[in-house]
C-alpha cells in the first residue's frame, strides 16, 4: 500500500495537483487557502513549473485562461471574496469551453465577511459563478484524502466535458490535517496535452488554426454554442453524479450534508442510532451535478430530510427540488463562521424523530 502522509487539506490539494501534471499555478493570497499558494511557490520552481502570484485574483484567473488554452493542466485557488473577483474569468473559461481547476476554500460572507469556515458560496458556485448560461463542475470533499483524490477527478472531468471544475470546501477542510495517500505521479504531461486537439499549441503549418474565444456576435452561432454546451451538461448530470450513503438502509430520517458539517453529522447520527433513532445520511460529493436520483429514491421511504449546512439554507432548496417537495426538508444551520456541534445536530434529529 502507498505511504500515508500527514498533510493539511490545502497542501494535499497542491501536491495532488502537481502529481496530476499541473505545472501552472496562478493565485493571490487569502485566508483560509493561502497554504495552497505557499506550497506551490516552494514546489513549482523545483519541477520546472510556473508559480505566479498575480497582482489580483482577476489577473490570476485570466492567466489560467491563457495557460488552459494551450491544453496544459492549470489551476488557481482562492477563498470566497476572491472567487467573486474571479467570476468574470470563470464565465470566460466556460464560454471558451476550457478545462481548469479552481479551488474555493470558503469563508463567511457576504462582503469581506470573516475568515472562519462557511458553505455560503453554495448557490454562487452551483448555479454558475459568473454571467451567462453555464455551469462548472463542483466537487465537495469531506476528508483530506478526498481533497487529494478529487483534485485528480476535477482535472479529468473538466477535460472530459471541457469545462472548468471546482473543489468547493470550507475553511476547516483546508486547515485540518489527516493521513492521506497521495495520487501517483503522472509523468506523461505531453500525452495529457496531446489528448486536447482543440488546444492552441501552434499549427506547425499542418492544420487549421484552433481559436479559443468566447465572443460570438452572430446570435444564431451563439445560440448553437449554448445549446451544445447544455447537451454536455445533460450528459454530465446523467453520468457523473457522486454521493455517499451512510446508514441509509433502514433510515426514516435522511440527513443531507457536505464537508465539515457532514462529519459533525456523522457523530450526531452515531449518537442518535444509540438512542434507537433510525437516521442515515446522503452526502452529495458532486454539487453540480447534484445527486437528485438517490434523494428522490430516499424520499419514497424516509419520513423527512434534514440538511445540515453553514449557510441560510441553500442546499436545502436543492433537496426540495430533487424530491419535488414530497417530504419535509428541515434544516440545522449555523453561519458567519460558526459550526454546529454534534449536540445541535443531534437535537435537530431528535426533533424530526418525534
Amino acid at each position: 500500500m502507498a505511504e500515508k502522509v500527514l498533510m493539511k487539506g490545502n497542501e494535499a490539494i497542491a501536491e495532488a495537483a502537481i502529481r496530476c501534471g499541473c505545472r501552472h499555478y496562478f493565485g493571490y493570497p487569502i485566508t483560509p487557502q493561502t497554504e495552497i499558494a505557499a506550497y506551490m511557490s516552494k514546489r513549482m520552481p523545483k519541477i520546472g513549473g510556473t508559480f505566479l502570484q498575480a497582482e489580483s485574483e482577476i489577473a490570476a484567473i485570466n492567466m489560467v485562461y491563457g495557460a488552459a488554452s494551450t491544453g496544459r493542466r492549470t489551476m488557481t485557488s482562492s477563498s470566497s471574496p476572491g472567487i467573486s473577483l474571479k467570476a468574470e474569468g470563470i464565465s470566460y473559461l466556460a464560454g471558451a469551453d476550457l478545462p481548469a481547476l479552481i479551488v474555493n476554500i470558503q469563508r463567511g460572507g457576504p462582503g469581506l465577511g470573516g475568515i472562519q469556515p462557511s458553505q455560503s458560496d453554495y448557490f454562487f458556485m452551483t448555479r454558475g459563478p459568473g454571467h451567462g448560461d453555464f455551469h462548472i463542475i463542483v466537487l465537495a470533499p469531506a476528508t483530506v484524502q478526498e481533497m487529494a483524490d478529487m483534485t485528480r477527478l476535477a482535472f479529468e472531468l473538466g477535460e472530459k466535458y471541457r469545462m472548468p471544475a471546482m473543489l468547493l470546501a470550507d475553511g476547516t477542510m483546508g486547515q485540518m490535517m489527516e493521513p492521506v495517500v497521495l495520487p501517483e505521479e503522472s509523468n506523461d504531461l505531453d500525452s495529457i496535452a496531446a489528448a486536447k486537439p482543440w488546444a492552441a499549441t501552434g499549427t506547425g503549418m499542418k492544420r487549421p488554426h484552433n481559436i479559443i474565444n468566447s465572443l460570438y456576435l452572430k446570435p444564431d452561432e451563439l445560440e448553437k454554442t449554448n445549446i451544445e454546451r447544455f447537451e454536455r451538461y445533460a450528459k454530465l448530470e446523467k453520468e457523473e453524479c457522486r454521493w455517499e450513503e451512510y446508514l441509509m438502509d433502514d433510515a426514516e430520517i435522511c440527513v443531507v450534508s457536505v464537508g465539515i458539517t457532514a462529519r459533525v453529522s456523522k457523530n450526531a447520527i452515531v449518537a442518535a442510532r444509540k438512542e434507537g433513532i433510525k437516521v442515515g445520511m446522503i452526502r452529495p460529493i458532486t454539487l453540480y451535478p447534484f445527486p437528485k436520483e438517490p434523494l428522490a429514491k430516499a424520499a419514497a421511504r424516509v419520513k423527512s430530510f434534514l440538511t445540515v449546512e453553514l449557510n441560510m439554507g441553500q442546499m436545502n432548496e436543492d433537496v426540495k427540488l430533487a424530491i419535488n417537495c414530497s417530504k419535509k426538508v428541515a434544516m440545522c444551520n449555523r453561519v458567519g463562521g460558526m459550526i454546529p456541534g454534534a449536540d445541535e445536530v443531534l437535537a435537530a434529529i431528535r426533533k424530526e424523530a418525534r
Partner: protein, 181 residues
C-alpha cells in the same frame, strides 16, 4: 480508545507544533487521527489552540466539544476550556504560567512547572514539548518511543539544530511523570 486532545495557550508557545508531533506519532503507529488548528488573527499574541484526535476507529468530526485531554499554557485557556472537559478527563496545566488550580473535582489535574523547567534547561520555548512528554507518559495515547521518531520527522529543516533540545524536553516531561508516580 479515543483521545480527544485540546492544546491551548498563547500564539508562539508552540501549541500547533506539539499537536503536530502527537498527530505524526499517531500516524506512525497506524492510528486514525485528525489535527485541526484555530486559525486567524487571534494567533498573533492572542489565544491559540489545536484539536488532535487519536483513535483506533475512523475519526468523524475533527471538532472536539468535550476533550478528554486538555493542555493549557495560559489562564484564559483554562478558564475557557475547563468546563468542557469530559468527566474523568485529564488537564495538564503549565503551573509556571497559571497560578490557579483546576476547580472541577470530576477531572484529573497534572500541574507541571513546564515553562520554568524549560528555562532551567536553557530551552525557553520548549515548555510545550515538556508537557507533550508528560501527556504521552501519563496517558499512553501513543507509545513513548515513537515520539522521538515523530519529532525527528516533523521538525522543519530550519530548526533541525534544535532537535536534540526538543528530544531532551520531551524526556524531561516523561521523567516528571515517572517521579510523580
Amino acid at each position: 480508545m479515543t483521545f480527544e486532545v485540546i492544546m491551548a495557550g498563547f500564539g508562539g508557545q508552540g501549541l500547533l507544533f506539539s499537536g503536530k508531533v502527537l498527530a505524526h506519532a499517531a500516524l506512525i503507529e497506524g492510528k486514525e487521527l485528525s489535527w485541526l488548528p484555530s486559525y486567524g488573527p487571534e494567533m498573533r499574541g492572542g489565544t491559540c489552540n489545536c484539536s488532535v484526535i487519536v483513535s483506533d476507529d475512523p475519526v468523524g468530526s475533527p471538532i472536539i466539544a468535550n476533550p478528554n485531554v486538555l493542555m493549557v499554557m495560559n489562564e484564559p485557556s483554562l478558564d475557557k476550556f475547563e468546563s468542557s472537559v469530559a468527566p474523568g478527563g485529564t488537564v495538564f496545566v503549565d503551573s509556571s504560567l497559571i497560578s490557579r488550580k483546576v476547580e472541577r473535582t470530576d477531572i484529573n489535574a497534572v500541574y507541571i512547572p513546564a515553562t520554568q523547567m524549560a528555562k532551567d534547561m536553557n530551552a525557553h520555548s520548549l515548555a510545550n514539548m515538556i508537557i507533550l512528554g508528560a501527556i504521552v507518559k501519563k496517558l499512553g495515547c501513543v507509545s513513548a518511543d515513537i515520539v522521538e521518531q515523530a519529532l525527528r520527522e516533523t521538525i522543519s529543516a530550519r530548526k533541525a539544530d534544535l532537535l536534540d533540545l526538543n528530544l531532551k524536553a520531551v524526556a524531561m516531561g516523561m521523567k516528571f511523570i515517572e517521579e510523580q508516580a
